[in-house]
Symmetry: C2
Subunit: 696 residues, 2 copies
């Protein structure tokens, strides 16, 4: 405590008081959030190692690092993670990497480019032998020997992968591929790890054989030799500073007639024979499955990264007092979170994070099942099994596209709103919001631009409704669309608004009606999907929320602990009703509810905010995110926001240095001579009279 004249405010007391009133067991709640007690225990044990590890741990000092310092620190952390990688089981490491993504997204990205994108590209596109060689024998899976990057996007092509322009021309004479960047626009761009880290690049290039363009295929192209020197014909550069994730060495790559052996083409589905005959399996569409893992991971990350920032904002809102008189008996002014507007800004986000936890967890298992099923079916070569596995994968493409875009947007808005809810202090780098937002923002763009993904998901859903309208059935996660009827336009949500089953039906109905309406517009147009692109994005968003709500409520139904169940049910109601309110224009427009019901929905959001309010400290504690991981001057568990914030500011900005290094510039300005003197008195009236421009 500092020397003080009068009592300081005591924000920690507010947090402590509310922590004590928690009505449920936070360990049990944490197990729900983590998807079971085993996972919860694993997360805890990983946080323990993480915090104590001298290289991997973090602190607010990172917010003062320059880009170059971040790059170096990130490299050191990767080298340290490599040691854990050797010791971990795959499940443990996956969870460890997931936590790294939340605490230090730069490190997470730089690792995931190799272990995720590079390895998955080889897994998805290479033969079993190719996978074994590059990933296991050569060491990509251990970040040892080789380190891969993912050479998909180019300067002039991002979303339209089929339009990439790098070429891989088969030289039948030498049995080699010649990799070439034909012009500046085809320069590989944004390639994470290319600038300084990678030894090899999983390169997406057009296969050209005997002058015929066979479309985009994948090739392993070495970038650097074992001395980490660039290969001949390979030009690589750093693409420099970014909005965030400055620790990631994104680079550009130009290939100038770089020759690779025939065998470096990944040829699980596509292969070129020695004589130049090209064989493309009907499964070539699976070549992009490498991206699925990233999308699914981003849904899970949306939950955990979001939980970090909602914790900060809610703890601050409990600790901080402003304006009105305290209503909690601790004296002083009113807690921010006792204001209905402040509740309305933050509590729906808390509910959304809780809701997303179940979906994030589910998607991870779902993806594993599908990939395993697909690989098993391909090995059996049973075409009906393969067909079913491909259908599953197509569904996952749609669902993950919808969820990736909706969840990453949601978390992006969450961080921004949470920052604003912390007022001026949210703008301090040490609050964590600035870097958090900047790091996060790219999630809405990479590995499938959110609007492009949402359009594609929306299109698939409209196509499902088209099927239903033709009397066919759709299955799996889209089965609810089977009950869509074009002539049913009556209200779904009437009377009491809190019933979760009815709310789910409300969302499902809107997906159907939106899709049906979009399909009608499509029928009146020349068949171009672009006329309904705005609808497609809306359909995707509402579908994602339908999916999240459905998954969340199913998981809640399994919870037998009454105290936990009641909290989760309230959060599900708040999530559903506040989301409904956010998109209320659509619900009203399609008559899924009436304006009078919407008024009830809004009132109920207020009621739920107030009901959940006393449990907010417990509900954020349940994320069990340690202080070092939250890494914010405003969000520590103890809630001592003023003393601790002031101390870290002093530690990181030494007040004994009372003059800036550039002080002379300012002092010279302040102590400058009068203008007349500096002008050598050339413009005085007297001089001007002498020079003749003024009359006597």
């Amino acid at each position: 405590m500092s020397v003080t004249y009068t009592d300081s405010p005591n924000p920690a007391a507010s947090i402590a008081k509310e922590r004590a009133q928690t009505s449920f067991d936070i360990d049990t709640m944490n197990e729900f959030l983590e998807g079971g007690s085993n996972q919860a225990a694993l997360v805890k044990s990983l946080y323990l190692q993480f915090e104590r590890d001298p290289i991997l741990t973090t602190s607010t000092a990172v917010y003062d690092l320059t880009k170059d310092q971040k790059r170096e620190l990130t490299a050191k952390k990767i080298a340290r993670v490599a040691q854990y990688l050797e010791a971990d089981t795959p499940t443990t490491f996956a969870k460890r990497l997931h936590l790294i993504h939340t605490v230090d997204p730069q490190v997470g990205t730089r690792i995931a480019v190799n272990l995720g994108l590079f390895v998955n590209c080889i897994r998805g596109n290479g033969t079993d032998e190719q996978f074994k060689y590059w990933v296991l024998t050569q060491g990509a899976s251990q970040m040892k020997g080789i380190y891969g990057c993912f050479g998909m996007t180019e300067l002039a092509h991002g979303s339209n992968v089929a339009g990439l322009e790098t070429t891989a021309t088969f030289d039948v004479e030498t049995d080699e591929f010649v990799i070439n960047t034909p012009h500046v626009g085809a320069t590989k761009w944004w390639i994470g790890g290319a600038a300084h880290s990678s030894s090899h690049c999983a390169t997406y290039a057009r296969l050209i054989v005997k002058g015929v363009d066979h479309g985009v295929k994948t090739f392993v192209v070495p970038l650097r030799d074992a001395n980490h020197d660039l290969m001949p014909g390979v030009s690589v550069g750093d693409i420099g500073a970014k909005m965030g994730r400055d620790g990631v060495d994104n680079g550009w790559i130009q290939f100038s007639n770089v020759r690779i052996p025939h065998a470096f083409m990944l040829s699980r589905y596509d292969r070129v024979c020695r004589d130049g005959t090209v064989h493309s399996a009907p499964l070539a569409q699976l070549a992009y499955s490498a991206l699925l893992d990233g999308r699914v991971t981003m849904v899970y990350n949306s939950f955990r990264f979001g939980s970090r920032f909602i914790t900060i904002a809610l703890r601050y809102a409990v600790a901080r007092r402003q304006f009105g008189k305290s209503s909690d008996g601790l004296g002083g002014e009113e807690q921010l979170l006792n204001y209905p507007l402040h509740q309305n800004r933050l509590m729906p986000y808390l509910a959304s994070i809780y809701a997303m936890s179940a979906t994030g967890d589910k998607m991870n298992w779902y993806l594993k099942d599908i990939i395993n099923g697909l690989e098993a079916s391909v090995r059996t070569a049973d075409m009906s099994q393969i067909g079913a596995a491909i259908d599953d994968m197509k569904s996952l493409f749609v669902i993950s596209a919808s969820l990736k875009s909706t969840c990453t947007w949601l978390t992006s808005s969450l961080i921004d709103e949470c920052r604003q809810a912390c007022g001026g202090h949210g703008y301090s780098a040490y609050s964590g919001f600035g870097q958090g937002y900047s790091d996060w923002a790219v999630q809405c763009t990479w590995e499938g631009d959110n609007n492009v993904l949402a359009m594609s998901a929306g299109k698939a859903i409209v196509q499902h409704v088209q099927k239903v309208l033709k009397g066919k059935k759709v299955s799996g996660e889209f089965a609810f669309l089977n009950s869509y009827k074009a002539d049913e336009t009556s209200e779904v949500l009437k009377g009491p608004v809190g019933n979760l089953t009815t709310l789910l039906a409300t969302f499902q109905t809107l997906v159907g009606r939106l899709s049906g309406h979009a399909n009608e517009i499509l029928g009146h147009s020349s068949g171009s999907w672009e006329v309904i692109s705005v609808h497609q994005v809306n359909i995707s968003k509402i579908f994602a929320h339908t999916y999240i709500l459905s998954t969340f409520t199913k998981r809640i139904a399994e919870v037998s602990d009454f105290a936990i169940n009641i909290q989760l049910t309230q959060l599900a109601q708040l999530y559903a009703l506040s989301t409904l309110s956010q998109y209320s224009s659509l619900f009203l427009q399609y008559n899924v509810l009436a304006a009078s019901t919407l008024a009830k929905v809004q009132a109920e959001v207020g009621n739920l905010n107030a009901r959940i309010r006393p449990q907010v400290v417990g509900l954020t504690d349940s994320f069990m995110m340690p202080d070092f991981a939250i890494n914010s001057a405003l969000g520590s568990k103890a809630g001592d926001i003023y003393e601790s914030y002031f101390n870290l500011v002093k530690n990181q900005n030494d007040p004994s240095v009372t003059k800036a290094p550039y002080s002379a510039v300012l002092e010279k300005m302040l102590n400058r001579q009068d203008l007349e003197v500096r002008e050598r008195s050339e413009r005085t009236e007297q001089v001007l009279r002498i020079l003749g421009s003024t009359d006597e």
Copy 2:
């Protein structure tokens, strides 16, 4: 041009082609945007000096600077601006500073703290003699001799200024004030310029006389002497890294029994006599008028800063091609901006920026009139004149609160959406979006948190409606509320949706009905305004858009040039209809229009997007923002996005440095020995058998 195998894409050709099809005179359009030909000419001449000035000009190199480098560069720029300040007329300098705010917000802020906040605080709170002494004689107005900062906010108090805790205790013995920071929470915090620049602080502190607390008053407290050394009892520190505006040296200040002469209290309205008697004029509320200038400026900045980023995104959207086949005859793929979804994401923002131009300009004049009127009335001491002037100022407080919050939020969303619309390249620091967003974000928080301002504006509007309901009239900008009738609930917008007069009435009606409904809720509650806080924010937003639309349409009516008028009218329609669509839930809920009409509104937004689409290059050229000011790899006038972006990346990140400074860390990791060796083979089966843990 680089060596190339095949033709590069030619994005510049698309821009040039569309520039040529501009159907109106861009100089004339620019004059509209700038509020007349004189202002347009002034802006042009200032940009000319700005670009050529060796210190003040800027480039994408700034995106690679560290915080320390930004601080130093900012100081150099301030010293350079001081020279222009000596030569400029006030009007010229105001415009120069406004442009600086857009091109280099850090420099703008650091100057505005002294010339705006510090000087305005003295102007608003000091006697004429005090103003003359500190601002003119001592040189604050010339950034010479003294340089002030604005000591309002504290660590534990931001929005609630009346709750500040710094004390100024009158010592009747010595005829001095003793300034004190009683505890850590009362540390002055966020004080721009305090860390390194300021010589004096306009300090907001509680006046304590003979043990009685007279509330928050203002005092001039010297921080540093003429050698720039800290005064005794004054502790100052750097609050360190921020989300943005790192060039601004925000600081913290603690006063430990710092004595200042009696005369350093600013005493236009409040004064303490020699014997300790306190006189407070009834006008003491005007003490906060110092903040008005900032708020009004932010409305104007929202327009110009927004025009910078919408220009980048729209030029990129014309130059960039992806997916479908080109429809413009230039070959290749389709231009991004030909996709309806992309139009829908960006064109309404273009329309909003056009609409805000008129309001930004109007507010500047409006503020000047009111301040002058108030000062004149105070000098005459005519209480009825003073009363009228205060009423005007109160109106301006409401209007500027509503506009500041709505416009800064709008521009914040605009920057974020524009970044996302540029895909991955929007995430490059050299696109300008990252720093632009981070710099801008604080506008939603400082000088009145947006939610707090919106609530206060909403409250005032509800109070106006309460008056109307009691049969009284409200005047000025709120006069439209006089036609509000609680029992009128029929649709306003019916039939064709493009009529601007009807659209204005549609918005006005919603303001009335929202306020009336909020007032009803208030009547059913215990009288606490908090129950309608969500409504208050909505009311404020819709009011701001009503005001912007009204101002814009009035200005359009004065435009005789037909080609210009037609463009502006379309933009006004797009602004009104897309804003209506954005808030459509409210319009539907209050039955200002029917769902069937909303469908027409949305269709008409699409039509207007398509109609305005061919003029987009001309409409962004009309902002006449030079390339150096836009300062983006993606937004130059020529539109050569690939070559120029690639060249600047190479210039700022030397590709001949092929290994990172930290390369050894990575190489050591990649070339590490096998785990077994590093573990000294202590865990081999053989050893474990020897050690006895495994069975033979």
